[in-house]
């Protein structure tokens, strides 16, 4: 007996990470929290308590963000889409296990800020 997917002309040979990431999010595909940008920094505030039952991916995110890490970098390092990290973050923020840098920290282009970037790049 053939598996149903073998008869499906639309089935991809390599469906890639289609199912798994959104299993991680229990089907949620978007986060209600505005103001979290690709370059917002996520920082772990404290470890979860015993009764906070997190998913393995959330634990990995907490471990990674002990060093403050941008949303997009967390996605790349955990090999999950940005949208999935956003959803995982929702729970962690609800439990106050992480903080996210405010939108004002993500590159407001005023002269002092640009000058700091120029000086920094000259130095490296």
């Amino acid at each position: 007996m053939r598996h149903w997917s073998e008869e499906d002309p639309w089935a991809d040979d390599d469906p890639g990470p289609l199912v798994r990431p959104y299993t991680v999010t229990r089907g949620r595909t978007s986060s209600a929290r505005p103001g979290i940008e690709l370059i917002s920094l996520i920082s772990t505030v404290r470890p979860p308590t015993r009764d906070q039952r997190l998913q393995p991916e959330q634990n990995r995110l907490l471990a990674l963000c002990r060093t403050p890490t941008a949303l997009v970098e967390a996605a790349a390092r955990l090999d999950l889409p940005v949208t999935v990290i956003r959803v995982l973050l929702d729970d962690l923020l609800d439990h106050q296990l992480v903080s996210v840098s405010p939108p004002s920290a993500t590159g407001t282009p005023d002269a002092r800020f640009i000058q700091a970037v120029i000086d920094g790049i000259r130095r490296i």
Binding site: L18, S43, T67, A70, T106, G107, I114, R122
Partner: protein, 202 residues
């Protein structure tokens, strides 16, 4: 692609560090990821986003009931300037059908480097149009492969129909110092723009 989850070599950022974003645009295969890699303190990182059929837009899906998804890859790198300041460089997908992603990506960006290859200059026209229309400051980096930089700047300017204030820098996308010069040309252009804006306001 496997990445280590810890990265002991990096400067630890403060949780409230300021983050900046610079885009790297240009046609397919022009060297965007090479440029990012030349200056990033990490190997270029990649994140893949799943885009549903509805967002893709230009694909002709008439009569096709089933939803399809497309994966769009974004390569990026990080430059930690201090504990309080980090710059992310994003090399974004160059194909026309992914332009919708650019609105998201360019929000909050300081500006963009448009990487050009003189052998197919036209491949960077869409990027130039995009940033011009949205008023996002940009600089052109002309990638001179194999150190071959005999191009005439004025000819390239004319071909791209660039405004006189847009910086154009001949560069080697593999060379860190060369990439620094392109980024500085862009940022100094952004500064001049802010100064002009302030002068107009007062």
């Amino acid at each position: 692609m496997a990445f280590a989850e810890s990265d002991p070599g990096r400067t630890a950022l403060a949780p409230d560090a300021a983050t900046a974003k610079i885009l790297v645009a240009g046609g397919f295969g022009v060297g965007k990821t090479t440029l990012v890699g030349a200056i990033s303190e990490t190997e270029p990182l990649r994140t893949e986003e799943l885009i549903t059929e509805a967002s893709v837009g230009v694909d002709d899906l008439a009569g096709v009931e089933r939803k399809t998804t497309t994966t769009v890859a974004m390569d990026f790198g990080r430059i930690t300037l201090s504990q309080a300041l980090v710059v992310y460089l994003f090399g974004a997908p160059g194909q026309d059908r992914f332009w919708f992603m650019w609105d998201d990506l360019s929000r909050g960006a300081l500006g963009a480097v448009v990487l050009a290859d003189t052998r197919r200059l036209e491949s960077c026209f869409p990027s130039v149009d995009f940033f011009e229309h949205r008023g996002i400051p940009f600089a052109i980096g002309v990638n001179c492969f194999d150190g071959r930089c005999e191009e005439d700047e004025e000819e390239i300017r004319a071909a791209l129909d660039l405004a006189p204030d847009v910086p154009l820098v001949l560069c080697d996308a593999r060379d860190r110092e060369s990439v620094k010069r392109v980024l500085l040309a862009l940022l100094e252009h952004v500064m001049r723009g802010l100064a002009a804006e302030a002068a107009a306001t007062w």
